[in-house]
């Protein structure tokens, strides 16, 4: 396959995924627009029946029946997916919420952190300590500290409307806080790297036309540095999408949590975890695709380049 056909296939698959995902969420939030909330859009039963019928038809035909058996298995998997995808959709929604909020809030914290790390004196050490401590300890341990050791969830419990309607409940917000703190530390490092990659002459030139140091950083250095950091953000989004699964351990009903709950109900661990993996993959690919587009949109000739995230997904 050529590059462009691969891309077309990917975009097509993602479009189907998001059409389904969007319809699913709308349907379930508004009490069943198309079908009853949480019910499959199409009845999986006929597909399952077809699978069983095929399998019975070729039972005992040996090698000849093999290919038909594969079709039967495929149909079986399809009906399985149709049955359980609605359960996973609600979890996937929380995964998306966690990822997006943490990335955005993380960025808001990361910009001053990075500036402090590069340009600060006392603040340099504060930022450095924060960044290194967060990056040097496991995310799950951080979540446990927030959830079990600090009164965060009690505070969130006092906030009105949390957990009602489509507003997620308090554990989700504890997770958002955790992921935000974690992501801020990583994003600050990416931005620091980009700042240091920018010619110091840029700041000198900014000062020479009369901008203050802070203005020079704000209007000249940062706009370039943030563009340089885009490839790292792609990785950050991918990372958060995957690691948001850890929120399951502080009771957040995200994608992994949903798959595990369904698996404990029917013991089809492999099928459900693989299905979850496929949904994660769709989310990860969406993230990289969107960031590719963002990168094209904000590109300035001669400014940009490749950075590294905490791990590159591809």
């Amino acid at each position: 396959m050529t590059r462009s056909t691969k891309r077309a296939v990917r975009d097509g698959a993602l479009a189907v995924f998001w059409l389904w995902f969007g319809a699913r969420l709308l349907n379930d939030w508004f009490g069943g627009v198309f079908v009853a909330a949480g019910e499959p859009f199409f009845d999986p039963q006929p597909v399952a029946d077809a699978s069983t019928a095929l399998r019975e038809a070729v039972a005992g035909t040996g090698v000849l029946g093999e290919p038909v058996g594969w079709v039967a298995n495929g149909l079986g998997s399809l009906s399985f997916a149709m049955t359980y995808l609605p359960d996973l959709a609600a979890g996937a929604w929380l995964t998306v919420v966690l990822t997006i909020f943490a990335t955005i809030f993380g960025l808001v914290l990361a910009v001053p952190l990075a500036a402090a790390r590069v340009y600060g004196r006392v603040t340099h050490w504060v930022a450095l300590a924060f960044i290194e401590l967060i990056r040097g300890t496991p995310l799950l341990a951080q979540l446990f500290v927030l959830y079990y050791a600090l009164p965060l969830s009690r505070w969130f419990a006092a906030v009105p409307y949390l957990g009602s309607g489509i507003v997620p409940e308090q554990a989700v917000w504890v997770a958002v806080v955790g992921f935000t703190i974690n992501s801020a530390a990583y994003q600050a490092e990416y931005i620091r790297g980009s700042i240091e990659g920018i010619d110091p002459g840029q700041l000198v030139a900014a000062r020479s036309i009369g901008l203050s140091r802070v203005q020079g950083i704000r209007y000249v250095v940062m706009p370039q540095a943030l563009r340089f950091a885009i490839p790292s953000w792609t990785n950050e989004l991918v990372y958060l999408t995957k690691y948001s699964s850890l929120a399951a351990f502080i009771t957040v009903g995200e994608l992994f949590h949903a798959a595990r709950a369904a698996a404990y109900a029917n013991y089809r661990f492999l099928d459900l975890f693989l299905l979850a993996a496929v949904v994660y993959l769709a989310l990860v690919l969406s993230a990289t695709t969107v960031m590719e587009w963002v990168r094209g949109r904000v590109a300035i000739p001669g400014v940009g380049g490749s950075g590294d995230g905490r791990m590159s997904a591809d």
Partner: protein, 227 residues
């Protein structure tokens, strides 16, 4: 270990952590072992995968690349869960090692591929011009340079694997975080102390590994510069 469950009188929370230090030491040992075996497994699988990605034909690449993309796109938690619950690998320590190792291989292959591709094409060409076969050229000329260049990439990889051993908590491996959680359920008032103590140990470990790799990097450097 059993002493934990016998301690009856209430203790101060830091005192409690100190009293249970043996528990942390054991957890640390398991976390370190898990990291070590996973990285080794990742190396054994990841190096050939990286070579294939750099030099393979359309078929071998066509297999290795998508598998890598799928593994790198899947949360480690899901990989661990599939290994343990779905494939039924047991004991849990083995399942965690396999899961972390295979995932690490997927990332190490990228470290190696990148390092191989960073070795100038002229090196391969010169080796071939002397009469070395392609395999010999890879083995004796490209890889020795690529491996040196991949050392810094291992800082990141080690840190990630070390921290992610904590996720083996999900399948009950008695590593550091799992043990901390057990202690916390024993004396819930000590939550902050217990989890901070565990975090501190992780931090010391990642910090030491990073410094260690920097030292290693200097040790293996080619005189006059790697590049």
């Amino acid at each position: 270990m059993d002493s934990v469950f016998l301690s009856a009188q209430p203790l101060g929370d830091w005192e409690f952590v100190w009293q249970q230090r043996q528990f942390f030491v054991e957890g640390t040992r398991i976390a370190v072992e898990l990291t070590f075996y996973s990285i080794v497994l990742g190396f054994i699988l990841g190096l050939p995968a990286g070579v294939v990605e750099a030099y393979g034909g359309p078929y071998s690449k066509g297999v290795v690349r998508p598998v890598g993309v799928a593994i790198r796109g899947t949360p480690i938690l899901v990989i661990i869960a599939i290994t343990y619950f779905a494939f039924g690998v047991s004991p849990a320590f083995l399942a965690a090692t396999l899961a972390l190792g295979v995932r690490s291989a997927a990332y190490q292959s990228q470290i190696f591929r990148g390092a191989i591709e960073s070795v100038e094409g002229g090196q391969m060409e010169a080796a071939r011009a002397v009469g070395l076969s392609k395999l010999d050229a890879i083995r004796h000329v490209v890889l020795p340079q690529a491996l040196r260049r991949s050392v810094p990439g291992f800082q990141n990889e080690f840190t990630i694997v070390l921290k992610d051993t904590s996720i083996a908590y999900a399948i009950g491996v008695a590593e550091l975080l799992k043990r901390s959680y057990d202690l916390f359920s024993l004396q819930t008032s000590a939550a902050l102390e217990v989890f901070l103590a565990a975090s501190l140990i992780y931090f010391v470990l990642t910090f030491s590994v990073n410094r260690g790799i920097e030292v290693l990097n200097d040790r293996v450097a080619i005189p006059g510069g790697n590049y």
